[in-house]
């Protein structure tokens, strides 16, 4: 019984990782590198968008991603009674 529950916990954890790491990949490798030229044609204030993602935006998203992960995992730990 316990084993099954732990498996479920791990699966849920892996799901979170997949979602969060996709965003991680998107903002840095896709927006900041692969699509940088296309995004650079959009301009917000003095920033070309691709350049902004590479030097600013990706870093802000990284910070947010970790704090979202902390919240999700704390909730998950509670749900599975693994937070004591």
């Amino acid at each position: 019984m316990n084993k099954k529950l732990h498996k479920k916990y791990w699966k849920e954890n892996l799901k979170y990782l997949a979602i969060l790491l996709s965003i991680w990949f998107l903002v840095s490798y896709v927006f900041g590198i692969l699509l940088v030229d296309q995004l650079n044609s959009i301009k917000i204030a003095g920033f070309k968008l691709g350049f902004w993602f590479a030097q600013q935006g990706s870093i802000y998203v990284f910070v947010i991603l970790i704090f979202v992960y902390i919240r999700l995992m704390n909730r998950l730990d509670k749900k599975f009674n693994l937070d004591k």
Binding site: Q56, F62, Y69, K84
Partner: protein
């Protein structure tokens, strides 16, 4: 007061503070010495990790690298921050749950083999020594430029300070000194940045300032792109490197960050798994403050510099120019003898060579900031270099006293004996690091950046597979690590030091630079590990239970272990 007096005062105050903290937080057990007794608060650990992580290179050189490379410099910004997402999500919580002292501990236990442990120790030593030599050199350079003492004397002073708090306090002393060092270095980095941002754009937040316009109403970045085009450089906001290479370098830096033993070990120092996650979040937040400011400084400094010197009469240049000429960080040669400075992309016509380190070091002077602000930069640079050096020295000394002496040579060593061994190895490590700082081998500068490639190629796959792939066995992991690090060493020696027949840019495999090759070596490591493990026996049941156990955040599964 002049700059030098201010510098002596600020350096004196901060050094006294570090020594004071070291005396107050002496280590009394091996647990204190290796992992600060596992009682560090997540925010304190976040601060310490940030200082540990941000080296002399982050503080002194990175803004300059970006300033001179424009968009191409983004690899450092994304690479050295994105790794923390990997650390927080894929490594920190599980390694904390595993709950031993060092990275080789994990590798040795998870792969039930002392061979694996020794391979991991060797990888940790290679990575840490290449990295620490650069830090001691950085300490010497800051001393020599700001206080006009010999570089070697500067290295010796730095050695003495690190020796004092690393040997006395171990991880516990280092942690709390690093907290203080983070405060010093971030203050020293932000104050000039805010001043200059206000000066150039009227916006006190540098992160927004470099996207605003100057007093002439032109956006700063547009102006800089224009100046670059005029002088023949490639546009600041677009790159000159190939996309593939930028991709691979960014990946190597990210994964390398997540594989650096002195960073990983910081997550062993907190109380529980949820704290390990939290401190990764805080660490990245504190790091991001500097990393999002650096590109702003880069733009301010680049624009300022070009406007101050380009096509100006040499004998009418401001005072800082001749001062930094003396340190040969700036060299000027009047090729067409018109008495003016021509700063151009064309190497035949260009008359000015500027070292990128000047961006941070001279920026406050170029912007006419008060003397105490200029002196702050010296204290900040020292804090950055010392904190990283101490973290690395701890990894080196615990590798020797714990992983080699306690785990392999003499398992019966007493707690006290091991503590003495740890302190002695720290002394030896400081002396070796200092020797490298005084007699820097030519390859130091080249290898610091490559330490990331080495970490990515060796540790990262072994740790990730150890957590996420239960079937991974010792045969796979050891072969993977050995081939990964050898492949990386080979590529780096071939294309950086001209060994094995050398080669130029045209010979790079798929056009990937040595800096980006860590990603390739890591992929090779992963592939080989998985293939070999599928042909060799499964890991023993007890090891599979370790894996089940580290995947859970609390001790629910522990009964199976004991």
């Amino acid at each position: 007061m002049d700059i030098k007096t201010w510098t002596w005062i600020l350096v004196g105050i901060t050094f006294t503070l570090y020594i004071g903290i070291a005396i107050w937080t002496r280590a009394s057990s091996t647990g204190d010495f290796y992992v600060a007794g596992k009682g560090v608060h997540p925010i304190a650990n976040g601060l310490a990790t940030a200082a540990d992580w941000m080296s002399a290179a982050s503080f002194i050189s990175m803004a300059g690298l970006i300033s001179f490379n424009g968009y191409d410099g983004s690899v450092y910004l994304m690479g050295w921050t994105g790794g923390y997402v990997l650390l927080a999500l894929l490594l920190a919580p599980y390694l904390r749950k595993f709950g031993k002292f060092t990275v080789p501990d994990f590798i040795g236990d998870r792969y039930y083999s002392n061979v694996a442990r020794v391979v991991a120790v060797l990888c940790a030593l290679i990575v840490s020594f290449t990295y620490v030599a650069g830090q001691m050199r950085g300490v010497g350079l800051v001393f020599s430029r700001f206080l006009e003492v010999e570089i070697d004397t500067g290295v010796l002073i730095g050695m003495f300070i690190v020796l004092f708090y690393a040997v006395l306090g171990g991880m516990k002393g280092i942690t709390y000194t690093q907290v203080a060092q983070y405060c010093v270095l971030i203050f020293a980095f932000m104050v000039p940045a805010i001043f200059i941002s206000i000066q150039m754009t009227g916006n006190p937040i540098p992160q927004l300032g470099f996207g605003s316009s100057g007093s002439d109403g032109v956006f700063l970045l547009d102006k800089l792109d224009g100046l670059h085009r005029e002088l023949g450089f490639h546009e600041y906001t677009s790159g000159s490197k190939s996309k593939l290479d930028v991709f691979f370098i960014t990946a190597a830096l990210m994964i390398g960050t997540a594989g650096l033993p002195h960073v990983i070990v910081r997550f062993f120092t907190v109380k529980k798994v949820s704290d390990a996650r939290k401190s990764a979040g805080w660490a990245l937040l504190f790091i991001a403050i500097l990393y999002t400011t650096a590109p702003a400084i880069a733009v301010f400094a680049r624009t300022n510099m070009i406007q101050t010197v380009s096509n100006k009469k040499y004998n009418e240049l401001p005072e800082w120019f001749s001062k930094w000429e003396k340190t040969s960080l700036i060299t000027f040669e009047d090729k067409n003898e018109d008495g003016r400075v021509q700063y151009l992309a064309d190497p035949l016509k260009n008359e000015l060579i500027i070292d990128q380190d000047i961006t941070v070091l001279a920026n406050p002077e170029i912007a006419h900031l008060p003397n105490w602000v200029i002196a702050l930069v010296a204290a900040g640079g020292l804090a950055a270099a010392l904190s990283t050096a101490a973290g690395l020295l701890l990894v080196i000394s615990s590798s020797i006293s714990h992983d080699i002496i306690k785990k392999i040579i003499n398992p019966n060593i007493s707690e006290n004996g091991e503590l003495i061994a740890a302190r002695l190895s720290a002394v030896v490590a400081v002396i070796i690091a200092g020797w490298f700082g005084i007699n820097p081998p030519d390859f130091v500068a080249a290898t610091v950046a490559l330490a990331f490639g080495l970490a990515a190629a060796s540790f990262f796959p072994a740790i990730i597979l150890g957590i996420f792939y239960k079937r991974m066995n010792k045969e796979g992991a050891i072969t993977g690590m050995v081939i990964g690090i050898l492949l990386m060493l080979y590529y780096m020696m071939k294309f950086k030091f001209d060994w094995f027949g050398g080669g130029s840019k045209e010979d790079w495999w798929l056009g990937i630079s040595p800096e980006g090759f860590g990603t390739v070596a890591m992929l090779v490591n992963f592939t080989i590990s998985i293939i070999i493990s599928s042909f060799t026996p499964k890991p023993p049941l007890a090891v599979q239970e370790i894996v089940d156990n580290i995947r859970l955040p609390n001790d629910a599964g522990d009964s199976a272990l004991h």
